[in-house]
């Protein structure tokens, strides 16, 4: 953890109105919840479904993607990573710092909004809201590791990350049986299921397996990112 790198990463993420998009995503979730709470009577009925299908499946991967690639990929993309790499700082410190910044952003802009959204929809059940917050956090950590590794490995990190987040996590992770076992969304849902008694939250993966896979994906992603950053070839932009 290096404070200077963390500070610079924060300013890349939020400088020049760029952070606006990061705020828009949770804002859409919250506005939607407020609108529904005002217009529909029994929001508690579909609160878990909404949190899962819109929150965990769309908002969380997108916020994570923006945070993780914004912290690392954009710097590699415009070449300014050279100035960082030429300093006597361990590559592992760089990766870990940037990943931690991304996770901090996810906590503020995805996990907290999820808890608030859960409370807006169903005020009588703070346990479920908090459970979804915790699920968001573990999913966010795993996504950060995946997208950080992707940022170092490919110049098209954002596009590839989007295809993964939308097709694999969004479509396959919800509908195709085999893909469910290998989806961050289902793993985090297992955590949510463990922490809440809400009847409709059901994951296809058992909690111990989900936890092992979450930890494994996080460790592999971060290790891969560090080892790739050690031998990073700065390609010329196409």
């Amino acid at each position: 953890m290096n404070v200077t790198i963390a500070r610079l990463t924060m300013s890349t993420l939020f400088g020049h109105r760029r952070g606006l998009l990061l705020f828009i995503l949770p804002a859409v979730l919250l506005v939607l919840c407020v609108l529904l709470a005002l217009t529909v009577d029994d929001t508690a009925d579909f609160s878990t479904a909404l949190l899962q299908m819109f929150g965990l499946a769309v908002i969380v991967p997108l916020v994570s993607l923006l945070a993780a690639t914004g912290a690392l990929a954009s710097e590699i993309d415009d070449g300014s990573i050279v100035y960082l790499l030429s300093k006597p700082i361990k590559r592992s410190t760089i990766i870990v710092t940037k990943a931690l910044v991304a996770v901090a952003v996810i906590i503020v802009l995805a996990a907290v909004p999820m808890v608030i959204a859960g409370l807006i929809l169903d005020f009588g059940d703070p346990q479920t809201a908090l459970a979804f917050g915790a699920g968001t956090l573990v999913a966010g950590i795993a996504y950060t590791a995946i997208f950080t590794a992707l940022s170092v490995m490919s110049g098209n990190a954002v596009t590839i990350g989007l295809i993964y987040a939308l097709l694999w996590e969004g479509v396959m992770g919800q509908y195709v049986g085999g893909a469910k076992a290998l989806s961050v969304q289902q793993w985090s849902l297992a955590v949510v299921q463990h922490l809440t008694d809400a009847p409709h939250v059901k994951s296809d993966v058992k909690l111990p397996i989900a936890l092992i896979l979450l930890v494994a994906v996080t460790l592999v992603g971060i290790t891969l990112a560090i080892s790739r950053l050690r031998s990073l070839v700065l390609s010329t932009a196409e």
Binding site: R18, L21, I24, L25, V28, L32, L35, L36, T39, V40, F46, L50, M53, F54, V58, I59, L62, L65, L66, T69, G70, A73, S74, D77, D78, G155, N156, A157, V158, T159, L162, I163, L166, L167, V171, A237, E238
Partner: protein, 297 residues
């Protein structure tokens, strides 16, 4: 700035003191046309590196291959009716269209800003409005190719399978109209977001976030306001204004009097048309204003 860019008689910036060229010069129109064509080629990676061909060609293949297989099956098994209409196909594969827009709009708009080559374009007789329009047109045409190609294949397959000619032609044409409406709207939105930032990765994420989040929000709201799927509820109808895809779907069924899940009445249709025009005009104005700012430096 644009006033200074009127094609001058002599001493324009590309005359750097070598032998003079006094012959006829192609004007603004020819430059705009050339820029449109080259941008359209770039949108599919033609004339660029092999790596940048991968994504557009892959997404085009995702659009075309299922249709080709379907046409093969409907001909081999001699179906009586076509398995799906052209209009449905576009909205069925909208995630692919969104990904294409997200991956290619920044290629057309952000790169010139990031590498500063926009200055060179604007130093020519080309006006900045021409530049913006050329890029937007190229993006709309590229999207049109992406959606039109599977439609042409579906149409050709339908004719080969000897389905009803008039019906098929009508369906093909309404598919094309829908695709055109969608291309223009998506190109305007994608162009505005891509032109706003020189960072490619950021533009990609921003475009996809706008398209996917708005569409998911609309789907969720519609599902909650109208749980039985009757499309009677007025509020759930107007909820479709919230995302480009659903907006075009409704607008197309208004213009073509059918094809979508429900046909809006005249007031609703006019509201959708007005919103469509406002968004397109607003985005084009935004792109132009953005380049005005770039040109001022």
């Amino acid at each position: 700035m644009s006033d200074q860019l009127r094609p001058p008689a002599a001493g324009v910036i590309h005359d750097i003191g070598y032998r003079h060229y006094d012959g006829p010069r192609l004007g603004r129109f020819a430059i705009t046309q050339a820029l449109t064509v080259s941008s359209l080629r770039h949108a599919y990676g033609l004339g660029r590196s092999g790596k940048s061909k991968v994504m557009p060609i892959l997404l085009l293949a995702v659009m075309v291959v299922p249709v080709a297989i379907m046409v093969g099956i409907e001909n081999a098994l001699q179906f009586d009716n076509p398995p799906l209409s052209q209009m449905r196909y576009i909205f069925f594969l909208q995630a692919v269209i969104a990904l294409y827009l997200a991956s290619q709009a920044p290629q057309l708009f952000s790169r010139d800003l990031r590498y500063g080559s926009i200055v060179l374009y604007l130093a020519r007789p080309l006006r900045r409005t021409d530049y913006a329009l050329a890029k937007l047109t190229a993006l709309a045409l590229a999207l049109m190719v992406l959606m039109g190609l599977p439609m042409v294949i579906l149409y050709a397959g339908a004719l080969l399978a000897k389905f009803d000619f008039t019906l098929m032609t009508k369906e093909f044409l309404s598919g094309l109209v829908t695709a055109l409406l969608l291309s223009i709207l998506l190109a305007a939105i994608g162009g505005l977001i891509a032109a706003a930032t020189p960072r490619r990765g950021f533009a990609v994420a921003a475009i996809i976030a706008v398209l996917i989040v708005s569409f998911t929000a609309v789907t969720v709201v519609t599902a909650i306001l109208d749980p039985e799927g009757t499309h009677r509820d007025v509020a759930s109808r107007y909820a479709n204004l919230g995302s480009p895809f659903s907006l075009v779907e409704v607008l197309a069924s208004f213009v073509l009097r059918g094809g979508g899940d429900w046909v809006p009445n005249t007031t609703q249709g006019l509201v959708f048309a007005a919103v469509y025009l406002l968004v397109v005009a607003g985005c084009c104005w935004g792109v132009n204003a953005r380049y005005a700012k770039v040109a001022r430096g």
